[in-house]
Symmetry: C2
Subunit: 333 residues, 2 copies
């Protein structure tokens, strides 16, 4: 559990895209995004107050979150100076970088001396159990994709926002580093040891009120041979009651696999249901989320209408249209 | 890679079953099983020569393999004395125990001082890549089960033995601790980090001669919610050309999951083919391996005949009948 609110460290981001983790935090949990910290030459701007470490501390920030992708995989000396000062000022640090905070001896030494925590959200901090498959109370929804990176996290976050706005009981459950930094909590599923993957998802989505929905962040795809095992564990550990099919219609092949074409939405529906019914015989596909970012408005609307007619399920791009119809479908279950 | 041949340490095994890892090594790789080392009160006997450390060393043994399950999860002081003496005598140590050799400071110190290796086969020793899904040369066969522990490893080892006897090109590829200790090599798949599972299986089964078969040790089951992600990664990383269906007909429910019934062989066939075709469109189910250990001879034969008639595939219990018909089916592909 990462202490909130955050001071978002944008460092010397070479462009706005490099700060997309920080942008995600601001977009989805504005209450966690107290201020931004930018170094000289920073080309990103979240339109949050710029604060010094002292100012942010005085304003109540608890954790400095590295919300920027670094170049070359090393924590630069220029960054290091700020990170050390932040620990000394009383901040915890949180990072989703490949190179870990805990592998930097100077940060470890200062954190220990100051009694601060270093959160590397790519690394599990819990000893997860082996899954026991027991049916849990409460409801769970999972987005499954034809491919990786088709908008599953966005879909779950948009549904969570809509459900909160309607006063429904819902919790977004993060399973990847960006989701964990956004919410301050979750399971970095792709870094969990194989035997404990499904158990980690059970741990993440425990018994709850009968009318409460966990909106579980999806990972990978059953059809992506590099990561399908992670998706499988997510389905069997999450034992979802509702599935959302996620798809990006313009992609020429599976991400990173030039020889692999994408499955159809029908193939995704059928395999996902077959697999999910093993853990929950009552599971249903309730809607479809299409990422139309690569299309113009007219083309996108035609695409969505065509898929809806073909599949007979509410079909939306939650970025263009919001997740209202997906939440309607969930509420109708 | 564990150096062979082995001196098999049976310790103070309370009964023969406790030494089943050592028994497996002797059964499947007798050339690796030079001798046994038994302590006072040992109730197991592999009918191998009993040797002292000195005698085994002189006879050419390279590694002392802990071939016995210990009680209570600790390495007892009585064992420790033998293990230290073995390192001093020039043996490497290999173990599949939950409690690791490398977590015992005295063993680590002696191993370092003597220049010997400690092999904990539950722990990966390689940085595996992320799977790239590239089609590889050579052929691969994988046993998939209706449940865990239905005889998948036994089936692959029996097929390997039969293929070696026929002069066919084949390699048993171990994916679990017992298999790794038997062959001295392999991937402890259930201990690999999620993102690298499929890549580890690709690494284990590289390009090979067009007429060479990898016989990949199966793990878990697509229908076992605790471990299905591991099975999925095995199928997509192994991209098998041939599948063997494995089943134990008398089991009342999935192992460790009292609320989960077993799937039918038809369900296993259909889901396994759907999933395996993603990585290899030409994959076929070639045969069925039934574990009839809980049945009398007549009942077993009737069971096998019934399944063969129903499924239209060669159906054998490789323990009772050998794996000849499964190898025939593979050769006919």
């Amino acid at each position: 559990m990462i202490e909130t609110p955050y001071l978002l460290f944008l460092g010397d981001a070479p462009d706005p895209l490099a700060a997309k983790v920080a942008q995600g935090i601001k977009d989805w949990r504005p209450e966690n995004a107290l201020a931004q910290f930018r170094m000289e030459g920073c080309k990103a701007d979240l339109r949050l107050p710029d604060m010094t470490l002292e100012e942010a501390k005085a304003a109540g920030a608890r954790t400095l979150v590295i919300g920027v992708a670094n170049r070359g995989g090393v924590i630069s000396p220029a960054w290091k100076k700020v990170l050390v000062a932040a620990l000394e000022e009383g901040f915890d640090l949180a990072s989703g970088l490949h190179n870990l905070l805990r592998d930097e001896p100077d940060l470890v030494a200062v954190a220990e001396a100051c009694g601060r925590a270093l959160h590397d959200v790519r690394v599990p901090e819990v000893d997860y159990p082996i899954a026991d498959g027991r049916r849990r109370t409460g409801k769970r929804c999972l987005a499954v994709g034809t491919d990786c990176s088709v908008g599953k996290m966005y879909t779950a976050l948009a549904m969570d926002r809509e459900m909160q706005a309607r006063g429904l009981k819902a919790t977004f459950r993060a399973t990847g580093q960006t989701g964990i930094l956004i919410t301050g909590d979750g399971v970095p599923l792709d870094a969990v040891v194989a035997d404990f993957m499904a158990g980690a998802v059970e741990w993440l989505t425990p018994d709850n009120d009968p009318d409460h929905w966990d909106l579980i962040e999806g990972q990978g795809s059953l059809f992506h041979v590099s990561f399908s095992g992670v998706t499988m564990a997510l389905i069997h550990g999450g034992q979802p009651d509702a599935l959302i099919l996620s798809h990006e219609p313009t992609r020429p092949h599976m991400r990173g696999l030039p020889d692999y074409g994408l499955p159809t939405l029908e193939e995704l529906r059928d395999l996902s249901l077959t697999v999910a019914r093993i853990a929950n015989p009552d599971v249903q596909v309730v809607g479809i989320s299409i990422n139309t970012a690569a299309m113009g408005e007219d083309e996108a609307m035609a695409c969505l209408a065509g898929i809806e007619a073909r599949m007979g399920l509410p079909t939306v791009d939650p970025f263009r249209q919001g997740a209202g119809r997906l939440v309607d479908a969930l509420a109708a279950l």
